[in-house]
Symmetry: C2
Subunit: 453 residues, 2 copies
Amino acid sequence: MPKPTPLSGFPELLPAQRVVEREVIATLSRVFELHGFANIETRVVEPLDVLAKGGEIDKEIYVLQRLQAGPDQTAADATLGMHFDLTVPFSRYVLENSGHLEFPFRRFQVQPAWRGERPQEGRYRQFTQADIDIVGRDELGFHHDVEVVRVMVEALGALPLPPLTFCVNNRKLIQGFYRGLGIEDVTTAIRVIDKLDKLPAEVVAAQLVEQAGATEEQAQRCLELATIRVADTSFVERVRALGVTDELLETGLAELAAVVEGCADVVSDRVSVEVDLRIARGLDYYTGTVLEIFMAGYERLKSVGGGGRYDALASDGRTTYPGVGVSFGVSRTLLPLMADGVLAGSRPVPSAVLVALTDEESRPAAQRVATALRARGVACEVAPTPAKFGKQIRFAERRGIPYVWFSRRDPDGGEPDAAGALTHEVKDIRSGEQVAADPATWTPPPRTCERGS
Amino acid sequence: MPKPTPLSGFPELLPAQRVVEREVIATLSRVFELHGFANIETRVVEPLDVLAKGGEIDKEIYVLQRLQAGPDQTAADATLGMHFDLTVPFSRYVLENSGHLEFPFRRFQVQPAWRGERPQEGRYRQFTQADIDIVGRDELGFHHDVEVVRVMVEALGALPLPPLTFCVNNRKLIQGFYRGLGIEDVTTAIRVIDKLDKLPAEVVAAQLVEQAGATEEQAQRCLELATIRVADTSFVERVRALGVTDELLETGLAELAAVVEGCADVVSDRVSVEVDLRIARGLDYYTGTVLEIFMAGYERLKSVGGGGRYDALASDGRTTYPGVGVSFGVSRTLLPLMADGVLAGSRPVPSAVLVALTDEESRPAAQRVATALRARGVACEVAPTPAKFGKQIRFAERRGIPYVWFSRRDPDGGEPDAAGALTHEVKDIRSGEQVAADPATWTPPPRTCERGS
């Protein structure tokens, strides 16, 4: 076939970049597991009636068809779509397997999702996400809201990323405030306020009047609320100063303050938590805590993650499963950072050592050296051909392999194949230093034997 | 939504089963990396002209369509299919990125693939495979054939599976034998012989006569060749005793003997390598070494893996990329073993410790205990509610968490929140043993802190 070209919206990584992605996923997974989250994977397809809910996302759903409908074609084939996030398949998984799960069920999931949207920086048709959620049966303590935010702050704080900010809000706070203010259509008001990052304040105010039935005065107070942004619990007094009283508002204020206080010991230079009362998240199913994650210098990507509390993540009519979770956009974050050179893979191959060949006959001896090194966890490969040593060293250099191993027949003689009859040296091709080494004991200095995952 | 039911052909794992799958993938990946294989992932879709080659597989290809064609719908959307193996996307990846790869390029890839075939035991519509391949530019030394087989023998030998057999053959041996024998249509003859596991020998012999233009006598000799099955290099003499001479046959004999000899030091009770001259593998692109992997007691699954040498894995018209690789069917192997209880996950959650709560006020102190344990790599979770201790212990039991941690206010008094004012005990709920413990130093005994991955 002719040389293929990349498919727009379906980015792929070169081996050295994939090393970075794997390290990121391994780090996230390790933190999630330390907090007792179990890993699951869901199939990539769902029945269309699970996916398509009549919303904006519907037209981005990819549907599966068989290329040629054969006798094995079943009706079900025609009604499968690929998941566009990990929340929908997870809630279906919880319902389907509820009898086999212990609640509260804590899971993490790192998988791709697919959306047929127009590709742009940070937006892809296939993209990987890392999600954590805690799901209860019938009930789920509020403290889990604090917990999932803490865990994601800790996990992302372990990654080599530009500074991140978790912008947190609470739907009860907004809803209670709007209700206490006397706005009739609270749901519409939330949807309109959510456009504040795209539209000027005056336009949003006008829409609050037109679409949510607010007065000019009410619209102004909504905007005042939405401009409160602080890194501590001082928002409580500032909201109270706006003079609205409502029971739900008080609950929201208390919950939001608890999230901020609960994260105080895990925030750092790398990850901060801020109250931002403008954050609403468009999705209707959030019912309490809501958050979006932003990356310094990459505000153009909008959020790189988000999540919140949903009192009905799933329901089968008899039982309701409340949940709280946070999703992190692995592709959305890493791909722009890689494109900008902020994140770069150090080595495209896991090998720390290339075992050089004197001639083709020395391959078995070289393999024994490699086996001895691998037995102690040193990744290595034997040279593909017995080229001149200089060429073998350049081969290692191009692959990013830091050490080259040379074995020579011992001048005292003996069989070339017998390990005892060889003398060994290992060369650090970065420094040029070459020292005697024993395949049974040598390991690369810690700094240079760092591996892919 | 009503309680969903599983989708036929799209199996999913419960958390404890997923632990097993992750361990298997982690073990395979570790061995592959020790041998210098770099990991890549390819997008799940390919242009249809890359996938559909007019073969049997075509009608199993899933094609992507957008649910609603919006203004963003591009012509390309309509011509994307999901990959049905990892070889086709890999060869496309090699062509597309050849300028950025160092050859011989060694990669491993663990991803799902999709086929719209009729689901049955070991055959799924979504299934995970683990592939290793070495690809050269223009040329690739034969010793890499030996290497990939060795690496896969070593990797699979590290898994807790029933005994596996690598049945190895060489297409040059078969082709040379048929040619030396005087059979005209060698390709058809290979395809017919490949049916020996499905059809009786007489039928295969008749088809060799009818379809490949063989005489009765030639067909008989083909069958004799195909019945040779030995675990050492004695096949060389047995083939020669059949009285056929051909240059290609000699090359095939030498290569196959080299594979068997080259694996002699890595085979074990768990993984053996056998010469089986019946193995042809239907696919036309194999040109030398071919192999299939079978699992003892699971012969009904047919092979659980396979691979071989292809002199033109990929070609862009100017450059040809020969390759050799082996693929292992992760889903095909693990799912039947899990269904039979041969493989079972020990713990559905990664947590080794549940930190119990005396009351809701003790949660911050419990969180500090958890943080101290996690700092030393001990996965743990704080109890969701301050239920009676017996209930908290049963909660841990149901989740498979072996230890429960209790903190009590020190009788000497002090603030309940201050870590210094608490005494701690940890209970092994399997033995009932309960001992004093310090959150800053306690770790579970090695045997019981085994973790998911």
